[in-house]
Symmetry: C2
């Protein structure tokens, strides 16, 4: 059976940076499921099989799936004998809260910090698309966003406090071992690692130690992405 | 068997306001476990059986338990045939993330909004203790905290965005039915409801609808507390 995951990349196909794609790359690695990775730049996304506006798209032996959380639920249901991504129904429900925190708190802040860094790592045709869509979404030019990044960057570490609360109790958000909730948060921070040289998390932050543990998972799978210098 | 829960109250014993006690009152109601509620003002806490600096304290047939999360884990383990508080190991682990968000985001903000309101609902001897301990903790007089409350109150609704993300998908944080994670967040907001007349959540906010659903749970158990006007 062929299993294909379409992910997002910059001008360099090895520079995969979508937080949502990283969630699923890690989820597939967690389940021990092999797959062909097809890095796809922004303007090539509409040509992905089946038609789509977003990645990830998973083709699991002919079955097409979209939306990272839905894909994770599908993997849990389809491969129940592999390591669990949720640890039961409570874990499924509460992973939505982790997703809410990742989206509303971390992603909202990171957009103001790394959006121009993403732009710089795209091919010219993708840059045009990205500039237009992001300037409309955020309501500012990339240059204005970038001019305000320092204040947002300074405020970022405080936003990680809920994670520090957990990591003072257990090594992973999911407990003694990672769950999909870890990959939701990891994907968000890996997004930044892949495209931005800015330092978001200090070396002595427990979130840094957890992030390094995530990079070590599955034989160092996520370290292999080309990271921004 | 006698089961006793020591909770925190103001000058009026029916005005129970500790967020951590509310988590356990709701957890006991969720499990369908009867208990004798002993509302206790701040300065009487050290006289609780067994000795303690904090409430809740649960005496479960002679077994003394402290710390709300530990009590919830105990109830889950001791009464496995009653409705679950966690929905499995994943739910246990991720409830810590909900606790982290409640503590670092909501409680941190509410302290700047309702601390003087709490003070006004205490008996004189408790007021003296409360003023000294809270002014030291927050590093401001109660009057200075209160003077800044309007800005904090205006910023509060945005902090609920992670909850709105979840509530757009499912009726409770725990999914189709509440889990301990709901009670963690409910307790935090019930703390404010019990002592403060300030309006934290607008009527059209999905968080308001969820809070009302929580007030309806277990035969309207939590509506019965004396709320601030």
């Amino acid at each position: 059976m062929t299993r294909t995951l379409y992910t997002l990349c910059g001008a360099n196909p090895a520079q995969r940076f979508s937080p949502h794609c990283w969630k699923i790359e890690m989820a597939l690695a967690h389940k021990g499921l092999d797959f062909v990775n097809v890095p796809t730049p922004f303007t090539a996304i509409p040509q992905i099989e089946g038609g789509t506006k977003t990645v990830p798209v998973l083709d699991d032996g002919g079955k097409l799936l979209r939306e990272s959380f839905d894909i994770a639920l599908y993997l849990e249901e389809t491969y129940p004998d592999r390591p669990t991504l949720f640890g039961g129904d409570g874990g499924k429900a509460l992973s939505r809260m982790v997703e809410g925190y990742a989206t509303a708190v971390l992603t909202a802040s990171l957009r103001k910090i790394i959006t121009r860094d993403i732009h710089e790592r795209l091919a010219p045709e993708d840059q045009a698309y990205f500039r237009a869509s992001r300037e409309q979404r955020i309501g500012m030019t990339l240059e204005t966003i970038e001019a305000g990044h320092a204040a947002e960057l300074a405020a970022f570490p405080a936003k990680l406090e809920p994670m520090r609360h957990v990591l003072a109790i257990q090594p992973f958000i999911g407990g003694d071992a990672p769950l999909f909730a870890d990959y939701i948060l990891f994907g968000t921070l890996q997004w930044a690692r892949a495209v931005s040289p800015k330092r978001l998390i200090q070396d002595d932050d427990p979130v840094r130690a957890w992030f390094e543990r995530c990079l070590d998972l599955h034989h160092g799978y996520a370290r292999k992405v080309v990271a921004a210098a």
